[in-house]
């Protein structure tokens, strides 16, 4: 058992698709919350196997895409602090702020380092004690515990020059926020690795309160197809429950060890999501006892971000109200080589995924 290849068999995926076809009587719109699911759906051509009754829309589950322009501008402002090292995951490098991207900032001379793990930033801080290392904490619940671990480590080591700009976001409350709006989604393909940390339990209010079935899915093509089958079965049978398809990666209660360290280091606050706005209880800030490691005091108070370029529909796309090809800029002015909106920047942004995998006329209509 290698835990991945076994779930990629074309025949297996096809047989699940056949069962979806048998089961599906009505029209259903399902949202894959997570950008990694969007990529899997396109990479493996899953949409072409689905019956007409199942429509998939992408959600706001790409941390880079939902980071507000103000927050990007905050990162860029940190680059201007003398002797600063800005340590970030690679996904952030090409996202446009009001004036520049981090990659452009680096080209202008800023010390921006792409790292793989939060502990790489700890290492940078240890090696450069005379300089401040600003670690950009971005990502959902999957990534937040690793930032928390780094903060705790910095405290243990007395690394006062290690600072975190926490842009972490929490997922279940934002699904609720979407449903309070105009989101015409019948069920959710829920993010597997977020739920490896938080468990499936926090999705209960979506299923019971909003009456929208939730299935936590893995990322192999068999996993995604099986999750769609489970959702269609629930909808056709009039059920609305939280189910786990990704049994090998997720438990109902989650990872108590990771949740504990998140609670130890972070407080929950509101957070601004691009395209959605400020959502209560979806952000994480460092708790008072870790204030020495908070980068926020180094960010200039007055950051005036410019509005999104005219025509950019990233907001509508992130809310699942529009598909990327319907944006007037898509593929014309906005391309991965010259992105205008964040959804075209990130490799997991829905626009970039559509552009990469689905530019032909046939696919555009899906």
């Amino acid at each position: 058992m290698r835990f991945a290849e076994e779930f990629r068999s074309r025949e297996l995926v096809k047989s699940i698709a056949d069962r979806i076809r048998q089961k599906c009587q009505k029209q259903w719109t399902l949202m894959e919350f997570c950008g990694t699911h969007t990529v899997s759906i396109f990479r493996h051509g899953l949409k072409s196997m689905l019956p007409d009754g199942v429509k998939l829309v992408s959600g706001p589950g790409c941390p880079v895409c939902v980071t507000s322009k103000t927050d990007i501008d905050k990162i860029l402002a940190l680059c201007d602090i003398p002797d600063a090292i800005v340590a970030t995951y690679g996904d952030m490098m090409k996202v446009p702020g009001s004036k520049f991207t981090l990659a452009e900032k680096r080209a202008q001379g800023a010390d921006v380092r792409v790292i793989y793990s939060s502990y790489d930033a700890i290492e940078l801080a240890r090696e450069n004690r005379g300089r401040k290392v600003f670690f950009i904490g971005i990502g959902f619940e999957t990534t937040a515990p690793s930032t928390a671990a780094a903060v705790r480590r910095a405290k243990e080591m007395g690394l006062q020059n290690f600072k975190v700009l926490s842009l972490h976001k929490l997922t279940p409350p934002v699904i609720g926020a979407l449903l309070e709006g105009d989101c015409a989604v019948d069920g959710f393909i829920c993010p597997g690795h977020v739920c490896s940390i938080i468990g499936a339990k926090p999705l209960e209010p979506i299923a019971s309160g909003y009456g929208k079935p939730c299935v936590v899915a893995g990322f192999e093509p068999g996993d995604v197809m099986q999750a769609i089958l489970m959702l269609v079965a629930q909808l056709e049978e009039g059920r609305s429950e939280v189910e786990i398809e990704y049994v090998r990666g997720v438990t109902y209660e989650g990872n108590s060890n990771a949740l504990k360290i998140m609670e130890e280091v972070f407080d929950i606050t509101s957070s601004e999501w691009r395209g959605i706005g400020v959502v209560e209880n979806t952000g994480l800030v460092l708790r008072g006892e870790f204030a020495d490691f908070d980068a926020s005091p180094y960010v200039p108070q007055q950051i005036r971000s410019e509005p999104d370029p005219p025509g950019c529909k990233c907001g509508d796309i992130l809310r699942g109200e529009m598909l990327p090809p319907d944006c007037p800029l898509f593929g014309r002015l906005c391309k991965p080589s010259s992105p205008i909106g964040p959804c075209m920047v990130s490799s997991e942004g829905s626009c970039a995924t559509y552009y990469l995998y689905a530019r032909s006329e046939k696919w555009m209509n899906l």
């Binding site: 058992m1 290698r2 835990f3 991945a4 076994e6 779930f7 297996l12 047989s15 699940i16 069962r19 048998q22 997570c34 950008g35 990694t36 589950g61 790409c62 941390p63 880079v64 995951y89 996904d91 793989y116 793990s117 939060s118 502990y119 790489d120 971005i138 990502g139 959902f140 999957t142 990534t143 515990p145 690793s146 671990a149 993010p191 597997g192 690795h193 977020v194 490896s196 940390i197 893995g218 990322f219 068999g222 996993d223 099986q226 089958l229 398809e245 990704y246 049994v247 090998r248 990666g249 997720v250 438990t251 989650g254 990872n255 108590s256 060890n257 990771a258 360290i261 990130s346 997991e348």
Partner: protein, 71 residues
């Protein structure tokens, strides 16, 4: 960004381990894992941290469900 991939632990020392990730062996942290993992175990690896121990039985259960005809 929320990608986590299966990695095989090949060496372990306290809360650190070496894991084979698609043929490349790299150092990973076991600090955030949900249950104890040892050499020979597969874990889900995300940004240098093992976040979940994978169990063969769980994977087989899903495969069995997927293969069920007319489930």
């Amino acid at each position: 960004m929320c990608l986590a991939i299966p990695a095989l632990i090949v060496e372990k020392k306290g809360s650190w381990a070496k894991a084979n990730v698609g043929g490349i062996v790299r150092e990973i942290s076991l600090e955030l894992i949900d249950r104890p993992a040892d050499v020979g175990d597969y874990v889900l690896l995300h940004a240098g941290f093992a976040i979940h121990k994978l169990e063969k039985e769980d994977a087989e259960e899903t495969l069995r469900l997927m293969r069920e005809v007319f489930g």
